[in-house]
Each structure stands twice: as structure tokens, then as C-alpha cells.
């Protein structure tokens, strides 16, 4: 039940951000610092989520098949593959590496 609570709170806060944009005075938009922080934080969070999902198992760092998935996804992205193809490449690589014994 507690996960439901945080999940619904996340939903409320997500809508609050969106709605706030429509109600704050336009003059705030003149402040480039706000957009810059929103932008750099987006990059930082996504980079962090990428690496956490690659090398962390709880509080332990591990080098496993997920590293292969990261490399394969990067190659697919460099070749301009669409999102869904990149995800499938990542899954396929991790599954294949496990099949041949690299966990």
C-alpha cells in the first residue's frame, strides 16, 4: 500500500509541475536560469539512471551482462536506430550474454 502512496504522490506532483507552467507569470520565463537547471537536471538524472541500472545491484557495484547491453544500445543509437529497436537490442544482448555464461 505504501508504494501506492508514493506513486500517487508522484502523479500529483507531476501534474502540479505541468499546471504551474500555465499559471505562473510569463516574466519567470525570462529567467534563463530556471530552464537551465531543468535542462541540466534532466541530463544528470537520465545519466544517473542509466549507470545505476547498468552497474548497481542494490548498494553493490557489479560488472555483468548489463554492461554489454549498454555498449550494444550505444552502438544502436549511434546508428540512429529508433527507440524500440534500441530497447530490444539491449534486452537481446543481455539475454545472449547470459546464455553464453556471463552473468
Amino acid at each position: 500500500m505504501s508504494l501506492w502512496f508514493w506513486l500517487l504522490l508522484a502523479c500529483v506532483l507531476a501534474y502540479a509541475w505541468k499546471l504551474m507552467g500555465y499559471f505562473v507569470p510569463a516574466s519567470l520565463l525570462q529567467n534563463p536560469r530556471m530552464s537551465r537547471v531543468a535542462g541540466t537536471m534532466t541530463i544528470g538524472l537520465l545519466a544517473s539512471l542509466t549507470i545505476v541500472n547498468t552497474v548497481a545491484s542494490g548498494q553493490v557495484l557489479a560488472a555483468d551482462a548489463r554492461l554489454g547491453a549498454l555498449a550494444a544500445a550505444a552502438i544502436a543509437l549511434a546508428l540512429r536506430a529508433p527507440f524500440l529497436v534500441v530497447v530490444i537490442v539491449g534486452a537481446g544482448t543481455a539475454a545472449l550474454l547470459r546464455l553464453i555464461g556471463w552473468n
Binding site: 509541475w17 500555465y22 537547471v37 541540466t40 537520465l46 544517473s48 541500472n53 548489463r66 549498454l70 529508433p82
Partner: protein, 245 residues
């Protein structure tokens, strides 16, 4: 003007299909991260912002707490507030439309709208992409969630690798130039250093703090990192603004 003849509507429909389809991967990853079907659907129906939804399930999958998942999702949602300000100036929705517009204010609907120059086309682009993605994203989330719950051991299918690929794909289009890449590397390093010392989920929030400090004191482009996951005008490079065509 017939709707099919509107360039913004055509772009809006194609971006809806491209973005909506990857709701499958969200749905499948969400149920294998430990959320149930309705929790997964609640994220797509109510939170409705791809990056934040992936962040929420990514933290949960890594053993993070609910509050860490909520915080990561919320910090990622800040940019939608910036989009809201831009769109409010551009589209000036009134009454109930303002509340509806807010819910479908995301990377792709904003990019589809701001890529047009004609005010009527900006409106059509925003609403076509916004509503189109909302409907398809939820539909394909349900498909993915139902498929994912029948998969058995997610690791055997490499679904943890799929999550890694999904986050990299969300990050990739935002790495235009040296500074965004440097920010990404700095935050990744900060994360790796933090992992052994703090509870799961918290390293992501530390990275957010690092990124916020960099953004506060730097003088880079003010729209850095504010790019859609799927660029609605990618095929139209060179003739980016089709409005009035």
C-alpha cells in the same frame, strides 16, 4: 482547411505512433520491476511523462524506496513546467482547456507545437501530438504490462538490459555538444561513487543535485537537455518549419 492537409497534424500523428509504441517497453519493464498492472497503468494515465515514469520504475527495480522513486520522478518532471510556460504564451488555452493542456504537456507535444510558426498550426500540432500520444501510450502500456507479466524470469529475457538501453535512449538526444556530455559524465561518476555509501535510489538524487548546481552556475544554452526523445521534425532537417506549406 482539411485536417489531413495540415503539416502539424501529420507530424503529430507520426510522433504519436513512434512515441506511443514504446509504451510497450514501459509496460513490460514496469511489471517486471515489481509494480502490478494497475500501478503501471496509473503511471501512464496520471503521471504521463515518459522519463519520469521510467525513473520511478528504475528506482523501484534497483531496490530503492518509494520516496526515492517519487523524488527522482518529480525532479525529472520539472522541465514540463518550463514547457507549460512556453506553451501558455504560445497557445493561450482558456478555461478547462488549460487543465487538459497541462496533462498532455510533455517533450514531444511541446516540440511538435514549437516546431511550427503559424499559430493555428501550433495549436493543431500540440493537441494532435498530445492527445495522440496519450491514447497510444496508454494502450501500448497495457499491452506491454500484460505481455510482461507472462514472461517469467525477467533476467532470462534480458529485461534489465532493456532498462539500461531505454535510459540511454532517453538521454542520447539530449547530448548535443560538449557541455551536456560533460554533465552526463560528471553525474554518472557521482552516481557510481555514491552507490556503495547510501541507500539504493539516493545516488540518483545526488546526481540531480550535482546537475542542478552545474545548471545554476553555468552559462550554457538555456534549452539544454530540453529535447524530445523522438524528434518530430527529424526527417525534415533543413526545412524544419513546414508551417504554411
Amino acid at each position: 482547411m482539411k485536417l489531413a492537409a495540415s503539416p502539424a497534424v501529420r507530424v503529430g500523428i507520426s510522433i504519436s505512433i513512434a512515441t506511443g509504441l514504446y509504451g510497450i517497453s514501459f509496460g513490460a519493464l514496469s511489471v517486471t520491476s515489481g509494480l502490478d498492472f494497475w500501478q503501471t497503468m496509473a503511471l501512464s494515465l496520471l503521471l504521463f511523462s515518459g522519463g519520469s515514469q521510467f525513473a520511478f520504475i528504475g528506482v523501484v527495480a534497483g531496490g530503492g524506496s518509494g520516496i526515492a522513486a517519487m523524488s527522482a520522478a518529480t525532479l525529472l518532471g520539472m522541465r514540463n513546467g518550463i514547457y507549460g510556460m512556453q506553451l501558455n504564451t504560445l497557445l493561450q488555452p482558456r478555461g478547462w482547456r488549460r487543465y487538459a493542456a497541462a496533462q498532455v504537456t510533455i517533450d514531444e507535444s511541446t516540440a511538435t507545437s514549437t516546431g511550427q510558426t503559424d499559430p493555428a498550426e501550433q495549436q493543431r500540432g500540440f493537441w494532435t501530438a498530445g492527445i495522440g500520444i496519450y491514447v497510444l501510450w496508454n494502450l501500448f502500456t497495457a499491452v506491454g504490462a500484460l505481455a510482461g507479466s507472462g514472461l517469467g524470469d525477467p533476467k532470462q529475457w534480458g529485461l534489465d538490459g532493456a532498462a539500461v538501453a531505454a535510459f540511454l535512449a532517453l538521454l542520447w538526444p539530449r547530448l548535443k555538444g560538449l557541455e551536456p556530455a560533460a554533465i552526463a559524465v560528471a553525474c554518472a561518476v557521482a552516481t557510481v561513487i555514491a552507490v556503495p555509501f547510501v541507500p539504493a535510489g539516493v545516488p540518483i538524487l545526488i546526481a540531480a543535485l550535482v546537475a542542478a548546481v552545474i545548471g545554476w552556475f553555468s552559462h550554457g544554452r538555456s534549452d539544454e537537455g530540453l529535447e524530445p526523445d523522438v524528434d518530430p521534425y527529424e526527417e525534415h532537417h533543413g526545412r524544419k518549419r513546414e508551417a504554411g506549406a
